[in-house]
Structure formats: structure tokens, C-alpha cells
Symmetry: D3
Subunit: 253 residues, 6 copies
């Protein structure tokens, strides 16, 4: 089975630089994949993307060595399994708030005996190889998003779930949940403290920690702190930011 | 943030005339939007439409002042939140049968502290404006569908849920639920009585009441009774009815 | 091979009542096909439809007995042949202005020895049957649109082209070409005269004449005059007209 | 209402030969439908297909007498009802593990009073006929998949649910659940025994039993044992197998 | 009819800042349109976009005041007219090399008596308004691309064609045609000279001149020289460039 | 630039085994690409495929080492250039009947000074590499289809066009053109003779010869004769043939 570069980089104690995709287009995905991101996450939650568009984007990413990751809309078995069958090598699941949530996430993303994932890796066989069924459980990475007060309360119970390999922090939702203004980078102190705490506990449990960032400098700071999967920018944001620069230059006179 | 004409009309005690979309096409949606409907509802439940087609239809409606509303397939957080992130200004949710259902609907459609909606209004920012996060909670309208015997039993418990602004009646499902023939307008007496009751209780609770109609005369009668959101016709039905008229005329000889 | 109802009706001296499709949706096409139109024309010229959407619409129409017709964007061999391979039983070609144009139309829509249509009726075999190659030439109908002053000048030269079975009049373009206001029904006298002339010459040449109409009464008058293929209304127009009626009723107070 | 050939064949004690669709294309579905399969199942669970592609495929199948069946991704009311509204005459539901699961499946696929299916058979009316609402409950077939150890434990409780007409076995998932290697045909003895047991109990309860097969000989053996719905092959597998044969021949030298 | 901001800006002697779209997605088009470009050009020639995707992009752009322009793949009447019927307010046509080419371009983009554009502005009526037919000829802008040695030879013959309002220079193709390396900004002297010559002749004929640029500084220089329509950047290029900046920052250590 | 395996195999005097794609689906294309075909041809002429579907299929093929080839609908510059910009490494052009046709084909598929291909290899840069512009002319392969009596008459004139690297024979069209029954393999003697003649002349001119076949044995015979590009089977045909085998087996009792 094709190895998962995420796990390889983590073994080498390297931080994965992840790009983000919100545009439902295989061509923009392919363009992004050719820029050299370690991984790209197709966002089915807040991106303008559904399953069928995602398949084309996974194919586009598969023309390169970039690792295809998908954020699903919700902790729901149908879409989690469809996403894996389509060849995602990582899934990010929002709103994992309890130990039971984390157990479901592990169960739905692993074949028996570790879990209850249904068998039918139709495209995953093409992408991963004929021995995908034998190795999928220890190759695929499932990220539980820690982004609510409830999840903070249950943090160790979640992190100690057998088979949970990684967590992911959405600073905006975490801010909202803690009564703060939603943002990626310059979070309020209460949120910054919570982020540090999550990172510390994840590291203690041997669980890789990832986080969403708004800019490279912040992402680098977080890598320094110990994050091993940092998202910076998205297709739509980069395009908009680039446009703003051009238009500002053109209208500077 | 762009104001929601639904709320503005309700403040002025006006009834919203809503059109219905079952055809998965941005062009038919745009054609409908240019006819002057106050709002248009994209039906993800019984229409032939899924999320990706809906996005194109929302864009098409956004070329006009018509308010974009979406009926989701079911009370499920994933699709409710995706729909709002895509820029819907109203959502209609089927089968809200208990107080707990109504609480979930409010929670999933409002940001903290009123609810638990996840943050990421990617297209909603384009449609609503940069201050969408600050005003979404009091701008968006969530309709709970009252259409089962169980919902009738729990009517006051549902209507008194904090943050529930509107309800919507599907006369066909309500008829079925009460053991009657499914229809929109000429409902059986038991159903007519239930509709009046729902309207009376909604009004008492200060909740706007909406209803599906088969024809303009019935819709007008219901407006007179106090309904403030009346659906008449759908893209597919209007097209079929128009065809029947033409074909009848052509074959009259 | 599945017979072509157009030819059968013409043999019985009946006028075909044709509906028009401008919305790129297989579901609206299927809805229209179930209303009982004799044929439906997918408009690739002025409709919002291209080839791939057309294929889905042809499939949708194929669930009924309605004859699938396609208007191509232009007299161009690529799209004419693709349309036929996809299973159209009639093609309407705009702007056939000269005898040479008409000869090209016949050549590109017929297999050798009558023409030069390339062989590969991939979906046409499914729709028409395994013996499609043997009978396509005498089953399919190609309509040449007569809609310019140049075409009027070359009328007999066009109509006498061997293998040209039908012509179609676009009153709007014909009006424009004659310096008049574009409309379907209440054309200016100069245009009305031209239409009568075209019909008279087509009939003399044994060529079936078709025409676009805005309403059933005008279509019936034209059937009485001798037209054998009359289009009335379109999906988008019927939907818009129905909406206008509903909205007028709702706002009458 | 158009009768369901599945029920007609079962009444005549015939086994339905079912094909499988994993490719999201209306044209491949139409090609398959023209081969003469009794039914075709569009796989929304492990196939690369979502709802919108499914609609086009249902339309394509509707050009023939082949019965359209859909496997939904999960036991979830939204997609079950959307699938039926789109005109599926059979639904296969994965992972029905308890009596309560089976009751939900029956409820969500039947109108009141037998169930709680919401009313709005928008395309089903076109495919089934205007009297669809009156006859859908006794025409549509819902298959519960029996594929886990838990389902085996609850077998009689599941099979005795009023209104459950059919079950379907996925040998791969059943194998995994029993600690065996996932495969379709040459299952391990423990799995073979479980399959026989399920068939025996289903037959005792008057419930039709279906099963997934990898090849015609195994399917025939299972028909001999009493299965009344046998799947053999899929669009993608047949295409791949045919390619392998051609390439082997071409490279034999 | 909705006025064309291009013409209004030219009357005010202002230069239009035009963005470029190569990604076939209505969402990326809508994102770009919200950045404030004066116009956006959907590139059907070298972009990964065809007609159907273009329609969705035109709708997306129509949610803003940005002017929708389309570059067609070739000087071909079918696509030119389809593009205008879909609501483009400008068309850029490649490879206009002779006076006859320019005359065709004008003819195919104008209604009689100025041209031979076929009548059927189905979506253009929605975007432009009900009086579109009366004003389209003097509102729409058709750009002839001057990018070959042959076009340079015929420059005055092209520029003097009645009804030709604008020309557009593709520096890459022009470079290739003159035996130079294809680039946008730092063109070789022979190309720079040709560009100056084209601009000078266009200005002399009262024809607005546009040009493709790789960066804002070059675009500003060209505005200073007299260009009145300057393209800077494209959706895909801006996204790729932004990615490169992020990745460079992340890997700087 | 990524080398073209077609040219590499021809240099090694090997015959390319080409598969054929008529289904407009990136997933079926990806499935085919993983079977090991040397190249796959996306058929825009007789397949049910247009440009936008083609792009997804090219991406899918690009996940493997299989060479992507496209047959365009007609000798038309717009689609030829769009196809190359999208990353096709070979194009097959129907109906090249004269020396002038062949010259156009060469011109439209080569950059200056060899031709007049417009510059903008947007996706080709991703697939081929950053140096695509420097090497495209000698890497891409353009096939001229020889399939009419006129082409036979002009054979040497066509084959001697500078820059024409390959020809392709469609036995069905050639049969029709010579007054014979259209078929792939068991062609009538007159056609067989013509095929041999074309092969002989192509070889004499140093032009690679390709041909469409219905089965592996015929393809092997043609390889033995000297053909260097042989198509066997297509996605849809293999799927249909496999279905027929299964159904025959199932109904053998």
C-alpha cells in the first residue's frame, strides 16, 4: 500500500504543511497540488464542496505526491466511509466532544476488528494499491477536532481512545465556544491558553496535534511549540488576497 | 450585513409570497428569481436537488433581491450548517416533532452563545457582507415544520423554544399524519382544524407561520387568516401546468 | 429501428406539436416529456444548454414516447454528428442560407452514400435499436432554418436539395432580417408575407414546414395554413408566465 | 402504478439477476440497462456516486424495463426518502443490526399509517404513475443488509418486523465481522454457515433473500439454495476484467 | 438596458482593470467578482472552461457590479452568439488577422442591420433588461485580438472596420508570431515596438486598446501609454503565487 | 518536459496498445488507466463526452503512466488547441481528406514557427512540466484520420506534409466511404486492400500508422503487418460484453 507521508513525516518529527481547499473544482485542486504542499485538505464542512466534487479533487491531487485529506461535514458514518472509499488518506472530523464521539470516529474509520468500517474501498484500491485492505487501518489518519468547551472538559478521555492518532484545532470555533471573537491567529488569551493546553495533553498522549492558521508566521510559531500539522491559507483566500494586492497597486494612483 | 427581507416584511405585517424550486438548475432558479417572488425556497428534501446544485441556485437567486431560502432534507447538523455557510437567509427543517428537535434546530443554526453553529461562513460573507458573523443570529430565519401528530401534541413546547422564529406547515404530510388524503389546498376538516390551531398557537407565541399552497386563491385566504409566509406553485408544477394548457388548446380540435 | 413519430404523423397529414427546452436540466426535460408533447426540441443555439447537458436531456426524454429533437448552434459538422450519435431523431440547423448550406446539412446528417456522416452511433444504437445504421438515413429528420433575406432569395435552390426533408422558420430572425421588429406571432406584414411564401414553396417541393410560435392560437392558425411542425412555448417561458399569473393574483389586493 | 418486477418475479418464484453500478455516469447506467439485467443497483455507499449523479442514472435506467434499485450510504432518513422520491423501486440499506434499525427502515420507506415517509414523490410520480401515492407502500421493496455479528444475534427480531420484505447479504462485510478475510464468493466456512443460516431464517419468515456475488457460477449456486436476488459483477469490475483479458492477449507475445 | 461600465469608463477616459478566470467554478468566479475588479474575463480559449461552466460563472459575476467578459476559443459564430445570449457584456476574439475576420466578428456580435447575430437573448434579457434587443448593438463590446504578423500587416484594414470598438493584445502570441520568446511583460524589443505601434494605430482609429499583463507595475505603465483595458493576473496564477509565498515562508527554516 | 511514451515506443519499434473511452466519467477513465493500457483515447467525436468531462478524464489518466490521447470532433482549431492546453499528449483528428487539411492539422497543433497554435498551455504545464513550451512541438503527436475516398486519392500528398507524425484508420468510416458495410475487423476485401495500401504508404513516408480494432486477435495481426498504434475495445463495449457473458451464464438454465 502507498505509504502515508503524514505518518512518515511525523515519525521523522517533521511538521506537515497543509493547504486548504474550499473551491469545488478539480482544476484548482490540481493547481494547488502542484505547488508542493505536503497535504491538501478538501473542506466538505465549510467549503463549497460536496462529495461528487470531492472525488474529482481527490483524483486531481492524486496526480502528485501531495497527501489527500478531507474534512467531513459532521461525525456521520455515511460520509466518513464514502470519503475513505474515495481514497482520502486523512479525514478531519468536526465537533468531537466526548469520548463516545471519539470512539465512533475510530470505529467508523477502521475495519474490523479495530472498527466497523464497511468494506468496499472502490477508488482507494486504485490510489492505495491492491493491498489497501490489509494496511488501511494503520495507514489512514483520522483527526478529531477539539473545538468546544465540552471537548476541553473531556480532553483526556478523548485523547486516550485507542486508535485516535491525531487531533485538529479550529481556533475560530474554539474562540466562539469560549465566548471570544472568532479568528485564526491572534486569538484571545483564554483561547491561546486552551490551545496550549490541548497541545500539551495531545503530546502527552502521543497524539499528533494540528491547527488552522491564518498566516505563515503564526504557523511557524505553532510548529515551534510542537504542532505537527499546520494549515496555512486556502485556495479562495489566497486568490482573494492576491487580487487585493493587485487592485491596491492598480488604484494607488 | 444585508438585511433579511423576510424579517422586514414581517415587521411591516406583510405576508411573504414564496416560490418553490424543485429543478436542479441555476438557470431555472435565475429565471424564477427575476419574476419578482419575495423569496424562493430551494427544496433539498423532495426536490431533485442536492447541495452542489443548490450552491449554483443560491448564486443565481443572489443576482436579484429575492430572498434565498432552503428546505433541508432532515434535521441534521451537517447539511443545516452547509446550507447557511452557502448563503441561505432562511432554512426550513422538516419533521420537527419535539421540543428537543426544535432546540437542536435553533442550536445548529445559531452561533454561540445562542447555539453551536460551527464557524466558517465562506459564501455567506460574500452574500451577507463582512459583518455577517456579528448579525447572522438575528438575521437568518429558521422554520420548523409542523407536520406530524407528535408535533401537534408538542406544539406549545416547540413554539416556546427560545430563538425559534418561524414554523412552516406541509399540508400533505400533516394530512397523512392525521389519516387523511395528502393534498395542499382542499384538506379534510380534521386537517383544516389542525392548521387553524397551529396558526393560532404560533401567533400567540409570536412565531411567524408559513404554509404550502397549491394555488393563489387558497394562499390569499390563508394570508387573510394570518399566515405570513405562503408558498404558491413550484418551477416544475408551473411548467407542467402551462404545458397542459397549451396542449389542451392545441388538441381542442 | 424505432420509427420516427414525426414522419409517421406527417404521413398521416398531422401537425406535430413541439415543445421547447432552454433549461439545461434532465429533470425539467423529463417533466416536460411527461406532459404529452409530440416532440421536444433541446435548443443548443439560444437555450442555456451545451452538449453534455443535452445528453442527459435526451436520456430523460427517452423515458417517454416524445420524439427528441435538437437545435444545433450552427451549421457545423462536429456538433451535428455528435447530436445524432447521442440519439436525436431530429436536428434543426440555423441559418441555412444557400443551396450549398443545405447540401452540407444533408451530407453531414446522412451516412454514405447519401452523405458523409461519420460512423459511430454510440447512444443512438441504444435508443434507436441495433439496426439504426441501416435505417438512420430515412428515419432522422434534418430541418433547415429559413430565416434570412439570403435564404429567401435562394429558397427554391434550398428546397430542391435532395434529402432535405423539412424546414423551420424562426419568425424573430426573419423579422430582423427583413428590417422588422423581432417577434414570434404578431409579425409585421412583410414578414407574414415571407412566411406564407416559404410555406407555399416548401409544400410545393414536398418539404415539411415548421415554425416557432408564441401561443397556441397562432400555432393553430399556422397549422390550418399547412404547417406540420409547430412549436409553442418553452420550459422557461411557461414557468415565467405561470409565475406572473400567480404573483399578479397574490398582489391583486 | 407501474408494477415492480422484483415482486412479480418473486411471486413467480424466480430469482432476480441484479447488476451493480459504481460509476457516476448516466451513460454507463443506460448502457448497462440495455443489456437486459432484471434490476440495477446504484451504489451510493461504496460506489463513487452521490445523489445528483444517481438521479441521472435513474433516468437512464428508466429508458428500459430494468428495475432501478439504490443502495443508500447509511440508515438515515434524509437520503432514504430522497432516493424514493427520485423514483427508486428498491432500496438496500447497510448495517441493519437491530430490530429497531429494521423498524426505522420500514418507517422511513413507507407512508402513514405504515410508516413516516414524508410526502413529495416528485420524480416517482413521473416514473411510477399518478397513483404512486396509493400503491407505493406495497410496491417499493426495502432490503435490510445483514452483515454484522450483531445482526446475526438479532436475526429473528429483525426478520419479524412487519413490512420488511427483503434482506441482502454483503459477504465481504459479514466476513470481516466474523473475523475472516473479506471476499464475495469463496467465503470461509464460518461465513458460509452464517449465510446459510440467514437464508434459512429469511425463508422461514417469508422474507426474500439477496446476496452479492463475484461470479455467475456462485450466483447460480446461491439461486439453487434459495436466494431470490443475486448481484453479479459491476460496471467498473466488468470493464476492468475485460481490459485485463484484452491486455493479456495483446501481451501474450 | 443595464449600461456597460466598460463604455462608461472609456468615455471618462479611465482604464478598466480586468481580472482573468481560468478555473471552471462559479464559486471562484464569485469570489473574484467580490474583490472589486472592474471586469472579469472568463477564458474559454486557454482556460479550463467550456460553455456550461461559463454560464454558472456569468451568473456568479452577475451578483456584483463587475462587468462579465468572455474570451471565446475562436472566431466561430456558434460560440460567439451563445456567449452573448448567456449575458456577456464583452467578448474577446482570438486571432483576428484580416479585415474579413474583423467584419465577421462585428457581424456575428451585432443584430441586423449592423450584423447577422441570431435573435434569442435568453439570459441576456435577465441580466441586461427587457430592452436588451434595442440597445445590445451599442452596449456590448467586441474585442479583436491582434496577435499575429498577418494582423500587423492588416492593422489599419482591421481597425477601420465599422463597429469594431476595441482590440486586445496577447503579448505571448504576438511574441511567438514575431519569433520571440512568449511572455506577458518583459517582451523583446521587436514585440514592444509592435505593441506600441498597435496602440498608436488603435488610438488613431478611435478604437480602445487592451492588453494582457503579468503584473501591476507593467499594467500601470501600459495604462500610462494609453491602454484602456488592462488584464493583471488570473485566479489560478494568484492562487499559485500565494501558495509559493506561504510555502517559501514555511520552508525558510 | 515529461516524455511521450508513444514516441519512445515507436523509437523502440513497439506497438502501442490503446484503450478507448466513450463514457463521460473521470472514475471510469481512472479505472481504465489503472489496467495498464499504454495509452487511452478520450473520444470527443463519437463518445458521449465533451470538453469539460474530458478535462476530468485527463486528470484521472494523469494519476498513472498511461498516455492521454483525445480524438476531437472535427478539424477545428478551437477544440484542437483547447485539448492540447488541457494536457493531451496526442490528438486524433477525423476526416483529414486533403493536403490542406493535413497542413491545418499540423499548424493548429504546433507553436510558431512550425505552426500557429495559440499560446496558453494552462494545464499542459502542470502535466508536462515547466519546459512544455520549449518541447511541445516535438513531443505531442497529431494523428490524421484517413477514412474517406478523397483521403485515399490524396494519400501521398497528405503523408508528405512536414510535421505530420501519424495517421489513424477508422475501418468503419473507410468501409462506408468505399460502399461497404461498416465494421472494425472483418472488413470487406476492398477495404482490407485500402488499409494495406495506407499502411504501406505511411510506412514509406516514415509516418506511424494506427487503426481501430474490435478484438485482440485482429489487433495482433495488424501489429504484425506494421501498425504501431492499435486500439482494442472501449470502456462501454467491454462493460456491455462482460454483462452479456454474465447474463448468458445466469440464463443458461
Amino acid at each position: 500500500m502507498r505509504p502515508n507521508k503524514l505518518r512518515e513525516m511525523w515519525k521523522a518529527d517533521q511538521a506537515v504543511v497543509n493547504g486548504w481547499l474550499a473551491i469545488p473544482s478539480a482544476f484548482s485542486a490540481e493547481t494547488m497540488a502542484h505547488q508542493g504542499w505536503d497535504s491538501l485538505t478538501i473542506d466538505l464542512q465549510h467549503g463549497l464542496i460536496d462529495y461528487q466534487a470531492m472525488v474529482g479533487m481527490l483524483q486531481a491531487i492524486s496526480t502528485t505526491e501531495t497527501v489527500p485529506v478531507v474534512r467531513v461535514p459532521w461525525l456521520e458514518p455515511g460520509i466518513l466511509m464514502k470519503t475513505l472509499d474515495a481514497g482520502a488518506y486523512g479525514v478531519i472530523c468536526p465537533m468531537v466532544n466526548t469520548r463516545e464521539d471519539a470512539q465512533k470516529l475510530v470505529a467508523w474509520t477502521h475495519y474490523a476488528p479495530q472498527g466497523t468500517r464497511s468494506f468496499g474501498p472502490v477508488r482507494a484500491l486504485l490510489y492505495g494499491g491492491a493491498d489497501y485492505p490489509q494496511h488501511a487501518n494503520e495507514t489512514i489518519v483520522a483527526f478529531a477536532m477539539i473545538e468546544t468547551a465540552q471537548a476541553l472538559d473531556n480532553l483526556d478521555a478523548i485523547l486516550s481512545v485507542e486508535g485516535l492518532d491525531a487531533i485538529y484545532i479550529g481556533p475560530s470555533d474554539l474562540s466562539l465556544a469560549l465566548g471570544c471573537r472568532p479568528t485564526f491567529d491572534d486569538v484571545e488569551p483564554k483561547v491561546a491558553q486552551a490551545i496550549d493546553h490541548i497541545l500539551e495533553r495531545a503530546t502527552a498522549h502521543g497524539v499528533a496535534a494540528g491547527i488552522h492558521n491564518g498566516s505563515a508566521p503564526h504557523a511557524l510559531q505553532r510548529v515551534d511549540k510542537g504542532f505537527r500539522f499546520v494549515t496555512v491559507g486556502s485556495d479562495a483566500r489566497l486568490m482573494a488576497a492576491g487580487s487585493q494586492q493587485v487592485l491596491a497597486a492598480m488604484r494607488s494612483r
